[in-house]
Symmetry: C2
Subunit: 265 residues, 2 copies
Amino acid sequence: MNQFDQETNFCLDADSRLTGTVHPHWNIGTNPNGGYLMALAASGMRQRCPKHPDPLSLTAHYQRPGLGAHSCTLDAELLREGASISTVRASLMQEGKQRLELLGSFGLLPSHSEPAQVSVAPPPMPEPDECIRRSGEAQGVDLPIMQRLDIRLHPDNVVKVPNGVSQVRGWARFKDGREPDSLALLLFADAFPPAIFGLLGMVGWVPTIELTVHVRRRPAPGWIQAQFRTQDLCDGRMIEEGLLWDSEGHLVAQCRQLAMLLKKP
Amino acid sequence: MNQFDQETNFCLDADSRLTGTVHPHWNIGTNPNGGYLMALAASGMRQRCPKHPDPLSLTAHYQRPGLGAHSCTLDAELLREGASISTVRASLMQEGKQRLELLGSFGLLPSHSEPAQVSVAPPPMPEPDECIRRSGEAQGVDLPIMQRLDIRLHPDNVVKVPNGVSQVRGWARFKDGREPDSLALLLFADAFPPAIFGLLGMVGWVPTIELTVHVRRRPAPGWIQAQFRTQDLCDGRMIEEGLLWDSEGHLVAQCRQLAMLLKKP
C-alpha cells in the first residue's frame, strides 16, 4: 500500500471505535501538518457513510496541536444519511484531549464529471521542472512532510525576501507516485507555505484556527496545481483562500482558512 | 427590544437546555431563511462562552428545512475555552429532528480595530436610494423576511433577464433601525438573491448545503454593503462567496456557501 493510505488508516475496534496513529512523517517542524490531520480524520469519518466517500464540504477547527508518532481515536458520528449527502461530525482525540473538531457533508462525486458550467481556469504556470522544490531550509524549519510530498513553488513565490504579493502558486503530488483523490486534496489544501509570507516575509508562525475544504470533482491522475492568496489580515487574524486544479485543468477543490499570525519574538 | 434580538432569543430552562422559537417573519417563501437560522443558533451558542460573544468562524450544515412559527431547542456544547477563542458545537432541533448542525470558533472582537494590514476595498456602488428594493414579486416568491430587512440591489443586478455575470451587489440593514453587529452579519451573509441568477436567470431553487461566515471586525453603524459571486458550478453544486463592508468601508465579514442548484420542473 502507498504511504498516504497506510498513514491515514483507522481500524474499527470491538466497540466500534475508530483507532489509528498520527504518523510523524507529515510533520511541519515538530507538529503534524493540519491538512494531514484533516485527511486522517476524514478517512475515519467516511467509514460512517460508505455510500458517500467524498468530502464535499469539510470544516476542521484546530483546538490543540496534534502529537506525531502517537496513537489517536476518532469519535465520529453519522448525523444524517440522505440520498445524496451524509452529514458527519467527529473529534480527533489524542491522550484524552480533543485535537480537531470536524463537521462535514460527504457525497459521491461522479467518476466522470460533465464540463463545469462556471469555473475558474488555472493561471499560467511554469512546468514543475522549472519550479523550486519546497524545502525546510528556505523556511528555517525542519519539514519531514517533504519526504512524503513533492511540492514545487513558482520561482516568484520562493520568498526569502517579500515580493509585495500575498500569493503562493505551485504544484503538488505524492513522492511515492500515489495519484490524487478527494482525500489527498484535503492534504494539498494545507501543504504550501503561507501566502502572507510573500507580502510580509517569514514574519512568524501561522497556526490555523479553522480550515474548510470543498472538493468539487475527482482529480485526474498527475500533478495538482494550486494557488493561495491572503486578501484580509486584521487584528492578527487572516483568511487564506486556495484553488486547486488537476492535470486536465479542472478546478477540483476550493479551500479557505482562518489563521492567526503570531510574530516571531 | 428590536425585532432581530427578540426573534433570535434563547432561554435557559431548569435543565440548562436552550429553548427558543423559529419566528416566521424571516421566511423565504415558506421556509425560514438560512442566515436567520444561523444567527438564531449563534445567539444560543455564545451563551456557552460569555467571554467570547463574536463568531470569528461559524459553519452550519443544513440538514432539513427549518419550521417557521415552531419552537426549537439548541443542543450546544462548549468544546474548549481558550484565552482568546472558544470552540462550540450545536444542533438546532425542531420536532425531535436536527435542522442545522453547527461548529464555530468564538472570540471577542476589539471595539476599535486597528486599520487592516491587508484588505479588499468595497467596489463603487450607487447609493442605497439609487438601488432597487429586493422584493418577492421580482423573484416570483413570497418574501416575509423583507418586512424585517431592507435589502437594496444594484440596478444592474435586478435580474428578470440574466446579464451574463454571476454576481449580486447591494446594501442591507434592519427595517426597525437596529444597528449591525457580528450576529447580524451572519444574517446578511444569506439575505441576497443567489448570485447565479445573474448568469442563468431564475433557474430554480438554491438550497444551501453548508454556509461558513468569518466575522472580521465589528461593523460601524449604518448600511452594510455586500457583494456575492459564484465562480464555480459543477455537477449541480456551486460555491457562492461573499464580502461584506460596513459604512466606513471596512471589510467586516467574508462568507462562502456550498449550495445545490435544483432546476425548476
